[in-house]
Amino acid sequence: MDLGSSVPYVAAAVILVVTLASGPLAIADRPAEQPTQIGTGSVTISDVRLPETATLRQGQFGEASYYVQVPPATVVFDGIEGRPILTYKLEIAALGYTRESAFFLGPDTGERMQFSLERDELPPEDVRNDSYAGVLRVVERAGEESRVVAERNVTVRVRR
């Protein structure tokens, strides 16, 4: 029982001492500012691989909405200058639907990058067909201007 009665105090003391010593660390912890502004610079791309299909999958277990699921695209870079932005975008014209994700490039970006679109939901009332025509694009954005880097017509299959 001796051990049992002293262990909690030792544990508490260790925790307290480290907590109280954290003051000076707090100052050293501040994140450094990013020097270059994002969204400036340029990128040269050697290859973009876009998927052939995307899916509208209806939820299970009582979830009736459709999940918009797009496989990732792979982009291979030749060179990156500054901190440009690329976006990966799906458009389904018949549904009036677009969704895009932005990817911030910089000196740390590797030779290639996988672009993914986060899952999204569409209400069940909107999805009537068995498939829709969609367009996938990778777009470079620099300031106000944008340039389509790659584009592909895809079939968006509906899975119920």
Binding site: A26, G59, E63, S65
Partner: protein
């Protein structure tokens, strides 16, 4: 000099001792209460996300920022859409917030966070406090069950967890401090709800079932889900639990003076609830007053004076706040017109009361107006409850996808029903059966005296108050941004209390204590992992995951309900099975709370424990 010193030290020590004893007796009651308190806080800490989960939180945080500066009017509004945030009203001297009772409680915590944050790394301090709570929890629990390995192993685990978390700690933005303060008082309220549930049930039926009930509230119901999410509901539940506990003590007391004291004390949480949400306080006040006076042994003049005096005194903060906010002591913030045109849900009767500000209403007229409005709302609820079975089904049993609700929840079926959120309540299905059998066996005449017994008195208030909550909110349900039907939050406490009152359940849990514990642990540890594996395998989305939990909960709930009803009718079904089923339903509730906090709704903010941040990113779920 030294004699003076020692005299002062002695008196200070005595004073501290008294404060400690009073706090101890007021909050925890005994070491079991303390163990539950610390365990619950550690549990909530596991999925504590530092941030605002639903927009309603912004108005409360804005209110705190201003109250901490010493004013009720909102001049500084850093959170959400500022003055447009739902929960902002047009007060006497400018825009005002709501839930001032919670805000005032959070002010000292906010100051403390500011002080600590100025000197230390607040992220590390929070981790330190959590780890200390864990040391405290394992030590208290270990000594209660007389297992040294729990104390030693748990303390070691706490140190390891502390070091691992500190290694990844990141600085906390001071802009989060008001939110953290509100989250901390919210978690305290949630965990104390469980402690009071334990004390209430223990006072009527003994410690063992009391521990089970208190633990169930803290670990297995939506009380845990909303603990740190900046809503008032935990406080509502706490006030109800405390009032019921005081009421129970007043009926189990030996001496008349003690009865009187506890009857008076029961009115304190009602008054404090009024300060937080006046309408909800009325739902507790009405049954409590009626039943208390109707069943008391003595309602002599002195008793009445003490009760009325205590209640009036406890209402002072409520009156003062209203006076400052609206200029009328009986007009709480929620009865004021909403500041934003696109107001959310409130009980002001739709913000059309612009005239309220121009004509100062006499207090009596104001009270009459409130009473009439209130009765008409309740009447509407009664009508809906008896004429709209579809709505009842969607609120209490099976939810699923409802376009009208889902379109404001991002087209996701993230709305559970009462039973889907807390499947353990299914055992309550046996309550009417048990009551029917009891009346048949003992006759109607015995019913009268039974209603005056301690359990009868608490049962009546609990049942009436629960029904009133249903009637008030049912016409507005189902609605978005609820997840667990949070408007009916008190049902989770009252339901667990009711469960502990069902003889079959009580007997199963107390007799098969080890089975209950083992089955609960097994469900959470093994079942939780199975759920993760299944959901990861099918690549489930958020709505799918939530509905998967709903179906699991319903399956477990159906089994428990069936067992409880059959066992109440005949002794042929094994009691141990019931103990296991109670644990499985409780475990299903816990798994949802944990996974929803760590995974599904992780976006509510950065985790207070960095290791959980890593876990959340590592789990392959929605």
């Amino acid at each position: 000099m030294s004699t003076l010193d020692s005299g002062l030290t002695a008196r200070l020590a005595a004073r501290t001792e008294t404060v400690r004893t009073v706090l101890w007796r007021l909050l925890f009651g005994d070491r079991v209460g303390l163990a539950l308190f610390l365990t619950g806080l550690c549990f909530f800490g596991l999925y504590w996300r530092m941030g605002i989960y639903i927009t309603d939180g912004s108005a409360i945080a804005n209110t705190l920022v201003n109250v901490a500066d010493g004013r009720v009017v909102l001049t500084e509004v850093p959170y959400g859409s500022g003055l447009e945030a739902p929960g902002t009203y047009v007060g006497n001297d400018g825009p005002v917030g709501r839930n001032y009772g919670i805000v005032v409680l959070a002010v000292p915590v906010f100051y403390a966070l500011q002080g600590l944050g100025a000197v230390f790394d607040l992220g590390v301090v929070l981790i330190g406090v959590w780890s200390l709570a864990l040391v405290g929890a394992v030590t208290t629990v270990g000594r209660l069950v007389e297992r040294e390995w729990v104390v030693v192993g748990g303390s070691a685990l706490a140190v390891v967890a502390f070091v691992a978390n500190v290694a990844f700690a990141t600085p906390v933005d001071p802009g989060l401090y008001p939110i953290l303060a509100l989250q901390i008082v919210g978690m305290l309220a949630a965990v104390l709800s469980g402690v009071f549930c334990y004390r209430l049930v223990a006072c009527l039926h003994g410690r063992r079932i009391g521990v089970a009930a208190g633990t169930a509230v803290v670990l297995a119901t939506p009380v845990a889900f909303w603990a740190a999410l900046l809503k008032r509901h935990s406080f509502t539940v706490l006030c109800i639990a405390a009032a019921l506990y005081a009421l129970a003590r007043s009926r189990t007391a030996d001496e008349h003076s003690e009865t009187r004291r506890f009857r008076a004390l029961a009115s304190v949480p009602v008054a404090l609830l009024a300060w937080i949400h006046a309408a909800e306080a009325l739902l507790l006040f009405a049954p409590l007053v009626v039943v208390d006076f109707a069943t008391a042994d003595r309602n002599d003049r002195r008793t009445l004076a003490v009760i009325a005096g205590t209640f009036a005194l406890s209402l002072v903060p409520f009156f003062l706040t209203n006076l400052l906010v609206s200029g009328n002591p009986v007009e709480p913030p929620r009865m004021l017109p909403s500041y934003s045109a696109s107001a959310g849900l409130d009980l002001s009767g739709g913000g059309g009361g612009g005239a309220v500000l121009d004509i100062p209403i006499p207090i009596v007229g104001g009270l009459v107006r409130i009473a009439l409005r209130f009765v008409s709302l309740l009447g509407e609820g009664v009508v809906v409850a008896f004429t709209d079975p579809v709505r009842l089904h969607r609120v209490f049993l099976r939810g699923g996808y409802l376009s009208s609700v889902a379109f404001r929840d991002g087209y996701q079926a993230i709305r559970l029903t009462v039973l889907e959120s807390a499947p353990i309540l299914a055992g309550f299905a046996a309550a009417p059966v048990a009551a029917g059998l009891w009346i048949r066996r003992r006759g109607r005449t015995a019913l009268g005296s039974s209603l005056r017994s301690p359990t009868g008195v608490v049962d009546t208030v609990a049942l009436a108050s629960g029904l009133l909550f249903v009637f008030l909110f049912l016409p507005r349900l189902p609605v978005h941004a609820q997840v667990t039907v949070r408007y009916l939050h008190p049902l989770y406490l009252l339901g667990v209390y009711g469960l502990a009152r069902v003889p079959a359940i009580r007997s199963a849990v107390t007799t098969h204590w080890r089975t209950t514990g083992l089955a609960y642990g097994g469900t959470v540890l093994i079942g939780g992992q199975l759920v993760v594996i299944v959901l990861a395998a099918i690549d489930a989305g958020l709505g799918e995951a939530v509905q998967f939990h709903a179906l699991l909960a319903l399956a477990a709930a159906t089994s428990l309900a069936a067992w409880a009803v059959v066992r109440t009718l005949s002794d042929t079904v094994p009691e141990r099975a019931g103990a296991a089923l109670v644990s499985v339903t409780a475990g299903a509730g816990t798994i949802f709370v944990l996974l929803s906090g760590i995974e599904y709704f992780a976006y509510a903010g950065e985790f207070a424990l960095p290791v959980v941040r890593w876990l959340s990113a590592a789990l392959p779920l929605a």
